[in-house]
Structure formats: C-alpha cells, structure tokens
Homo-oligomer: 316 residues x 2
C-alpha cells in the first residue's frame, strides 16, 4: 500500500495466491488476421473464459476470500451486470449468503443466473441501488463488496495482467477497457511493476468517455448520461481508480459505436473469441488509426474483459 495509490503490486501477488484455487487461469490467444488489421502482434487475455464469463470474478473472489469471520454475516453488493454474478458465485464458494441489489429492469437472464448461484436478489429503483445496498448491510450485518472502488477488488482484477505477463513477458504495451476503472487500475499496477517502461493504455467508448475527459482535464470528471452498447463501461471511475488512471495511462483511447461492433465481429469471426461489447472496445482501440500510428510498439497485450452477450440480440 503506497500513500498515493489504493494498492501496490504486493496486493496483486497476495490476491493471486488467494484466488488461485478458485479462478480459471485463462488462456492467452493470438490471431494472425487481427495482427494484420492492427499492424502489430496482439496477445489476448481471455477473461471471457473466466468463471461467470468475466474478469469480475477475480475481484469479487479476492475481496470475499480476504474477509475474516465477518464474511459469515453475508455479502452485499449492487450490480445489474457481471459483478452481480461474480459476487453470487464467490459467496457460494465460501458458503456465505450473498444479497445482490438489482434494478427492477435488470436483464431477466442475469437475474436468473444470480439466483441460480444461490444469492438473494433485492429489487429496487435504479437510482436507489446504493442506498438499498447500504440498508441491507445495516439490517443483516452483511459486508459490502463494491464492483470496482475497493482495494481488494482492484487487486483481484490485476491478477489477469499478472498472468498475461507471466506468459508473455516481453509486451511493449498493454490495454484494458475502462468502466469504473477497477480492471484498468489492477492492470496498470501489475504491468508497471512486472515490465517497467511498458506503455499502458485505457480504452473507452466515446459515448461513456469520463476517463478520457478526466485525463484531458487533469482532474476527475463524472460520467453522465452514457450512451453506448458497451454496457459494462457506463459507470464513472472512482476515487481509488481515477488516481491510477491519471498516473499510469499514456492515453485513454476512445472509439465510436460502429468501431466497437466491427471489432466485436472481427474477434468473433476471425479469432473465434466470443467477447461482449465492453471487451470489443479495447480491440477497437488497437485497430483504430490513432493507436496504429503510435511508434515503437510491436507487441500489445489486450485484456478481454468478458463474454456475456445476449445471443438473441447481436448487434449485426
């Protein structure tokens, strides 16, 4: 723990030891066709093949595994996305009760998956979800595990980049999508330690570009009215993740919606990587002109964040 950043590399190492028996060590994929499109070699860390289909399981697992006896009182979180399933499964693996606060209009399949993992679902209005989660915590004594703005969650997410760099040590650059910033923050701390001088990039949809705008302004700006198909990236960055973005990112690359859909389709069609739009944002970033024109980068690691897609509503 440094005074400046929420976590240090030692926290990621500890997380890796803690969650090793619980998570999949996901493969690293390569694809000559995508390499040609990007003009350099790409190494995809396949977190869509992680349990619950997303990197979120790493952070949830680490946060819950790091708890002492207080875990017995249960876990509470609010999420309508991958973090909800991640907490539900991680709690079940520790044999403790999870309470997941979800907005009324959450995807019925995601709600069913959370219930399947044995969690209790608490429905509420979208705007009230934080208040309801705090209320549940107060009433039940359950411990709150937020989806990104928490050191143990960030450290858990950093284990994906740790594994990637163990397998492919000689990367020149690494890129992760930014929603709340937990994945990016963990990735940055891991990569900067393991590969000093590595160039670190974030990727965002133009329709939810709070990190890019914050980065340009030099101070934190919230996300308002996000409009993007990348449903995992609609949130604002947090008090713990923003300083790491500010200090470690060389740039936050933004991409437009058609680029996201095109990159997702390329990943499916050419590389057989069944990724969700939020992951495709990072792929689109490396395929875009701005990134392609950067010099001195031969080998790029890309964290593919997840693969939870509605197969009945594909964007093409």
């Amino acid at each position: 723990m440094t005074s400046t950043w929420a976590i240090s590399f030692a926290d990621i190492e500890a997380a890796a030891r803690r969650i090793a028996p619980l998570v999949h060590r996901t493969p690293v994929a390569t694809c000559a066709a995508l390499d040609r499109l990007a003009g350099r070699r790409l190494f995809f860390k396949c977190e869509h093949l992680q349990k619950v289909g997303a990197f979120k399981f790493r952070g949830a697992c680490n946060a819950i595994a790091a708890l002492g006896e207080e875990a017995e009182r249960g876990i509470v979180t609010h999420s309508s996305g991958n973090h909800a399933q991640a907490v539900a499964l991680a709690a079940r693996l520790r044999s403790v009760q999870a309470h997941v606060v979800m907005p009324h209009d959450s995807n019925p399949k995601k709600r069913a998956a959370v219930l399947d993992y044995g969690a209790r679902v608490v429905s509420c209005e979208l705007a009230e979800r934080e208040a309801v989660a705090l209320l549940v915590a107060e009433q039940t004594g359950a411990v709150l595990v937020p989806s990104y703005n928490h050191p143990d969650v960030i450290a858990g997410q950093g284990t994906a980049a740790l594994e990637l760099l163990q397998e492919v040590p000689d990367l020149d650059a690494i890129i992760a999508p930014i929603g709340g910033g937990g994945l990016f923050a963990g990735t940055a701390i891991a990569a900067a330690h393991l590969r000093p001088g590595i160039r670190i990039f974030g990727a965002e949809p133009l329709g939810a570009d709070d990190a890019a705008r914050s980065f340009a302004a030099g101070h934190w700006l919230p996300q308002s009215a996000p409009r993007t198909i990348a449903d995992g990236l609609r949130t604002s960055t947090g008090t713990l993740t923003w300083p790491i973005i500010r200090d470690f990112a060389e740039a936050v690359v933004t991409v437009e919606e058609p680029e996201i859909v095109r990159a997702m389709r390329h990943a499916w069609e050419r590389a057989k990587l069944l990724i969700e739009p939020s992951s495709a944002v990072a792929v689109a970033a490396v395929l875009g002109d701005a990134f392609r024109e950067l010099e001195g980068i031969e080998r790029v690691g890309i964290i593919l964040s997840g693969g939870n897609v509605d197969l009945d509503a594909l964007p093409w």
Copy 2:
C-alpha cells in the same frame, strides 16, 4: 505403422514434432454449467481456436510438412470447407503453391479466405471435384492432400488428442465427431496409446450417420443424401478411417438436429466457446440421455473441431 491400421502412435508423435512450430497449442477449457448438464466433468480441447479455426490445419500441415522436394510442384486438394483453408495456409507457410478445387456454389466467404491465403481456386461441379483434383495433379505435378483418408492427415489430427491427454492425463473417456473420420481416427490412436483402457466414442448427426450404421452393421456403409446443419460431417468415412472406427469406438453416439443447435447455444452462452455445428455434435452427444446413463465415466475429453460459422445465419 501396423498392418491393421493406417497409422501408429509413433506417427502422431512424429506429426506433433513436425507441426509444433506451425500450429497453435490450443487451450483446454472447462465449464461448471456444462458439467452440471452432462452430469460429469468435461474437458474441451479448443480446436476452434486453431489456425483457420479448425483442427483441419493440423492434418494439412503435417501432410505438407512431411513431403520432400515434390512439394515444390505444389499441392492440390478438393474441399468446400475447413480443409480448403487449412491446405491453403499450410502451403503458404511452406512457400509452395496450393490449388484448391471448390464446387461453384461454395460459400463465397470461404472461397475468399482460400484466395486470401494465396491459393489458386479451381471451380467445378460438385460431382466432378475428385476428377478435377486428379486432373490438376496430372497437369501441374501437384501432390494431392486429401481431407481425411491419408495417413499423414490422420496422424496430424491425432495431435489434438495428444495435447489434451498431456494436459489432462486422467480422462475416463474421449469423444470426437465423425465426418470423414480423420479426427476420430487420430484421436483414437492417440488416446488408446496414452491412456490404455480409455473409452473412445464417436459422435454423429442422425442425418449423416454412416459411421453409426456401419458400426451397427459391422461393415462399411457409405453416406448418401446427408441432411444436417453440421456441414463438416456430411462426408462418408474412408478406407483408412473406417477400420479404426470399427476397432476403437465403444459406440458412435447419434444426435438429432435440435440437440445440435441446443448444444451449440449452450457452448456459446454458458462456456463462451464459439463452436460450429459439427463441434456441437460431440457436445450434444455427451449431454444426451444415452451417454449420461453410461456408468463409470467421471471425466470426458471432447475435441471441439472448429468455429467457422456464418454469423449472419445463426441457427436460433
């Protein structure tokens, strides 16, 4: 080389050494949700992540790499499917010309992919493809590399099971889909050697069940008028593959079309494995009642043969 079967395990070992620098060592995936559906543990060998998106690249690579100077005269094959791309890329990697005979009505995307790899495409009527391939061989001196009925092709396909059993040695059973039978034959020879007593299964669509009917009859029967979504499995088994099916398979499990589509969707949705219908046939087989009721099988290896799917015409 034994007198009974087209290849021995030593041929697969030689193939593995020969193609190691050329092929992807594909990952082995697991998925708790599919394990629950199958009632046992499943280990998926991800050949959809192989180059050209299918195991076919292994056999083509091995056959072409095993050639001497005669390869300089070029390679010829006929295929409208994954073998076409596999030969085109394998020939390019050896810097020799490939001639690929494809029926007029082949999928334009597959034709474009073959041309992209630098091969020459020779169009013909479906019924004339073998004759045209022989004619090209005669005219150009090119060496014929057939899609399954060839020892080097079978040995190459066997390297997928070899890798799977190196990574997960304690399988009780292994299953591969059967089209021409090259993948099954290589799988059977590898598995029987590496894990004596392992139970070996083939999987076929009911709409192209020549191997199952041959197996039941005790003698070879051809496939006629196949009707299945699993386009990779519409061919008849061959003179080299049938004896291995006959002698090594415990059973050839058949599945109906709706089971194939359901299994494919499960693999995509739950395991994020972007597999084509031919691969889903093997998944459907292990999810079906007949296989579920077999006793004494805890851990099953499944060869996922490929992931070349038309994303604009998904079967759901």
